[in-house]
């Protein structure tokens, strides 16, 4: 049995072990096909994931800077689950299983480690470090296809925006520290109640940093380019997990311990949500590349989550958590379908989906499910997600925000339905069903199951989310 301080970080330690293992194995790896290496990494994450299911809230670690509370555990399960799906989808395909499989997984797992720590961080220093540990590998992964001109360009853009925002973040945090005279978030929360302008400024600047991570408008501009250029399984993972992490930090920094004063963030979050929803949905309209379309729609979804954030209540927080879970399945699923089609057709354009319903009905049905879920249609996860955040906002009296969100959902459905039209209404260009690799198929099935299960029976997740969110306030 581990000593108390370590017990809190058991997941992180386990993941560290996996990292080490992959690193060592990589030294001995030879040849083009390194599927086994990828397999090992996946196995390791699976183990950690399994471990995460049994861990229980533990007393705070050294100096209370590292907490293993319900929120942290919920988030970590989410990260690990998403990572499992992501790795599974990448299994057996370049680059994840190619000659550089080792590097790929090392980077990815490092970033994951950062997220895990971030979810528990309750100290500015730890928070910032974890944040960077999460971010930096992503820049590299974005440009992992280093022979691909677009990929490296995307990675540069990602890096630029990322590092500038983290500079802003750090700058903000420095003020926070200065105003609170401590790096302990609990102290920050107390200081906030005295509403010191310096502190406020700091938190605002920090918010910019986090907004980049969750890709809220106008910090989103790296998103479409990166998504379009980077390898799809990675993008699928990138499109959900870091964002989830970002939201967890938001909760920690802006809600935890602030109680009533949390309302102060309402107008800002509402404003951010509005512009993000509008911009995301509108910019998605003219897209012809499915990944790019999903990128913009993803921005819009962040907006919807921010609606829950604007509620600045336990309910809102919980509903964002639920939204994130639903979003993991729907969004990753959608990206994976794109990956599947792209492997067969060599194209990621929406046109590549023509007549999919007649070529491989089940794949089309899966895609339809994911799209409907993203669009917020009954009996798939997204419906509840969207309505829950709306409900939370309404409960906080933000009816206008709900209306804006709901009306913009109509715009969103426009482009989702256009994709559906390609699959179901238009005739296929060439016959023959799409061949799926076993791991990818499995990943897709997981996503589909998740979407439907959540859609039909959301109760348990909702309850869990509410349980972990309540103590924050």
């Amino acid at each position: 049995m581990l000593p108390a301080p370590l017990a809190a970080g058991v997941l992180e330690l386990a993941l560290g072990a996996v990292l080490l293992l992959v690193f060592v194995l990589n030294l001995f790896a030879r040849g083009e096909d390194r599927r086994w290496l990828a397999g090992t990494a996946l196995g390791g994450v699976l183990v950690v994931g399994a471990l995460s299911l049994v861990v229980t809230p533990a007393p705070a670690g050294p100096g209370g800077m590292f907490v293993q509370d319900g929120l942290a555990i919920f988030a970590k399960r989410l990260f690990l689950g998403a990572t499992v799906i992501g790795l599974l989808a990448g299994l057996g395909a370049r680059p994840a299983s190619g000659r550089r499989a080792g590097e790929y997984h090392l980077l990815l797992l490092t970033s994951l480690l950062g997220m895990l720590v971030l979810a528990s961080a309750r100290d500015l220093i730890l928070l910032f470090v974890a944040f960077e540990v999460m971010s930096i590998p992503l820049y590299v992964l974005a440009g992992f296809l280093k022979r691909d001109a677009t990929a490296v360009e995307a990675s540069l853009k990602f890096f630029l925006v990322g590092s500038v925002s983290s500079a802003v973040l750090a700058y903000g945090l420095s003020f926070v520290y200065g105003a609170a005279r401590s790096t302990d978030l609990a102290k920050v929360a107390q200081a906030f109640s005295t509403a010191e302008p310096l502190l406020l400024l700091g938190l605002l600047a920090a918010l910019a940093g986090f907004a980049f991570k969750i890709a809220a408008f106008p910090f989103h501009m790296w998103v479409p380019d990166t998504y379009e250029a980077a390898s799809t399984p990675f993008v699928a993972w990138l499109s959900v997990t870091p964002k989830a992490a970002g939201f967890v930090v938001l909760f920690r920094v802006y809600f935890e311990g602030m109680g009533e004063r949390a309302d102060a963030w309402m107008p800002i979050a509402a404003g951010l949500a509005t512009v993000t929803i509008v911009a995301g949905n509108l910019m998605a309209l003219p897209q012809q590349n499915t990944k790019r379309l999903l990128a913009y729609s993803g921005v819009a979804h962040i907006g919807y989550m921010l609606v829950g954030f604007a509620a600045a209540s336990a309910a809102g927080t919980a509903m964002i958590l639920f939204y994130l879970v639903a979003y993991v399945f729907s969004n990753m699923g959608a990206f994976l379908v794109v990956e599947a089609v792209a492997r067969a057709e060599g194209s990621e354009a929406t046109a590549a989906l023509r007549g999919l319903a007649q070529r491989s009905p089940l794949l089309a049905l899966a895609m339809l499910l994911f799209l409907l879920s993203l669009g917020g249609i009954p009996f798939v996860a997204g419906f509840w997600a969207k309505l829950y955040v709306f409900w939370a906002a309404a409960a906080a009296g933000l009816y206008w925000l709900v209306l804006v969100g709901a009306v913009l959902t109509v715009v969103a459905l426009f482009y989702y339905l256009l994709v559906a039209k390609r699959m179901y209404i238009e005739a296929p260009e060439r016959p023959g069903r799409i061949q799926l690799s076993a791991p990818l198929a499995l990943a897709l099935v997981l996503c589909a199951l998740g979407v439907v299960a959540l859609g039909v029976y959301p109760k348990p997740v909702v309850m869990a989310a509410l349980r972990v969110a309540t103590p924050l306030f």
Partner: protein, 511 residues
């Protein structure tokens, strides 16, 4: 029913959905099986809805065949079902229409499996809205009822042709007006746009009721501040009104109904538009009596516009399906006008009109479907003298037409009579006149169309047409029968309806 301890409403609601799943997964490439499953599952719904119609205890009134299962306790969402006199009739209507619709679209060749699956899923949504007592679940079913439309119209629909004209021509070019894809998208998005308002309204009720529950019954007991009542009722009016086709939010309906395949037009014009009116009456008036009382003037006045404007537009159409579609706009005006009178006669008339017009318009679209698929044309100008080659269709069409112009002995008359009675007893007597004028205009265009299509010398290139056949007869006969039966014995329907409208009225204008 209760003796059987059968969750009868759930069975009615989900039976088509089960049918859809069966069709999807068992009946691949077996068209006959598809139709069989569809007929059986919808038949079950029909029989059971007849059953509850008979079994409904008129003395006891109120909501019966009650079911409840908690879904998300912390939010007070629960799967709660029950029917009163109003929903009872509309459930029956839905069952009849879809049953007829299954037979009317017997001849769908292309991808019939998906067609029937989507159709049945859609119907579950419709049933759900009528029977659910939990507003959240109601909304859920509402969306379920709207969405399949897109594919149903997009895949099996038929494109019309509309020339971009006027000052907005550029917009017409950019949006591709006239194509079935356009119509499908327009219909779906427009209705979801409406649902946005409904959503806000529902949440507002949840918040202000303070009961922490979405249950209709809990909210009934809650008291809402006048201000809240006003704007929430308005939200519901706009939201449901879109679906009910209130002017000027109606333009989705002609395009949508004209492009949709037969069964879908039947179901949509026949039942879904009623769903909007039902929402306004049940949720809007039922939960926000003061708001309703304050705003009926608006509802009724716009309804008057609907009636006359819709009838005139119908008269101007050269495309048969558009004529029927616009007549729906006009008749929905009657429905809402009747409701807005806030009188016993009026509310009864409103519900009865929902039923009558549902059957009538279902019949119309079934017939238009037959004519279209035989003559391959919707242009009224090109038709003529069909009466000789398809007497059955001609007769049915005439009956439908007579009902829509409110000829006695058809359901249409009873509905319109009650509407008139209610209108003149309401606070806005002048509403009577637009309503009456509307019926006359209806007489004008209906008889004009009938004459043009079925009478006169038959045009040479339509000699080959033949009358309705086999399964199609089932649809026609069933609908005509109901139309006339309820026209001659309106008590059958009004009995239960009255038990529901009177208390509703008492809530609004006091006993």
């Amino acid at each position: 029913m209760d003796a059987l301890r059968l969750p009868v409403l759930s069975v009615i609601t989900w039976s088509p959905f089960v049918g859809a799943l069966l069709i999807m997964f068992t009946a691949r490439h077996r068209p006959r099986a598809v139709r069989l499953i569809a007929a059986v599952t919808t038949g079950v719904s029909l029989l059971l809805s007849l059953g509850i119609y008979v079994a409904y205890d008129r003395e006891g009134a109120g909501f019966q065949f009650y079911e409840k299962v908690a879904l998300v306790p912390p939010l007070g969402i629960s799967y709660e079902l029950g029917v009163d006199g109003i929903s009872l009739l509309l459930v029956l209507l839905t069952a009849i229409i879809i049953f007829a619709g299954v037979f009317a679209s017997w001849t769908v060749k292309v991808r019939s499996q998906e067609f029937y699956a989507l159709l049945l899923a859609l119907v579950t949504g419709v049933f759900g809205v009528f029977v659910s007592l939990d507003l959240f679940v109601l909304f859920l079913f509402y969306e379920l009822a709207v969405l399949p439309m897109y594919l149903l119209i997009g895949i099996w629909g038929s494109s019309g042709e509309i020339r971009p004209r006027g000052i907005f021509a550029w917009a017409y070019r950019e949006t591709g007006v006239g194509t079935k894809e356009y119509a499908a998208m327009k219909l779906t998005l427009y209705l979801l746009f409406g649902s946005a308002f409904i959503l806000v309204g529902i949440f507002a009720l949840w918040v202000h009721a303070g009961a922490g529950s979405f249950s209709y019954l809990d909210m009934e007991t809650a008291v809402f501040a006048p201000g809240v009542q006003r704007w929430v009722f308005l939200a519901f009016y706009v939201g449901f009104g879109v679906l009910a086709g209130i002017w000027p939010l109606h333009t989705w309906s002609p395009d949508g109904h004209a492009s949709a395949p037969t069964a879908v037009s039947m179901l949509h014009a026949g039942v879904l538009m009623k769903l909007g009116a039902y929402g306004i009456v049940r949720v809007g008036m039922g939960l926000l009596p003061e708001g309703a009382a304050e705003l009926v003037w608006l509802v009724g006045t716009i309804a008057c516009v609907n009636i006359v404007y819709g009838a005139l537009s119908a008269m101007a159409q050269t495309d048969l399906k558009y004529v029927i579609a616009y007549s729906s706009v006009s008749h929905m005006g009657l429905v809402l006008l009747a409701a807005a009178t806030l009188t016993e006669a009026g509310l009864n008339g409103s519900v009865f009109q929902m039923f009558a017009h549902g059957i009538m318009t279902g019949l119309f679209f079934a017939l238009v479907g037959l004519v279209y698929e035989k003559a391959h044309s919707r242009e009224i100008g090109r038709m003529g003298g069909f009466g000789r080659v398809m007497p059955g269709v001609a007769t049915a069409f005439t009956v439908g037409g007579l009902s829509s112009l409110g000829l006695p002995a058809t359901s249409g008359f009873v509905a319109e009579l009650l509407t008139f009675m209610g209108a003149w007893r309401s606070e806005h007597r002048w509403w009577l006149f637009p309503a009456v004028v509307g019926t006359f205009l209806t007489a004008v265009y209906v008889l004009r169309v009938t004459k043009q299509i079925f009478w006169g010398p038959e045009s040479p290139h339509f000699r080959h047409l033949e009358d309705a056949r086999g399964p199609e007869w089932v649809a026609l006969v069933l609908l005509v029968f109901v139309l006339v039966l309820f026209g001659m014995a309106p008590g059958l329907a009004l009995g239960p309806v009255d038990t529901a409208t009177v208390p509703l009225l008492a809530r609004i204008v006091g006993p």
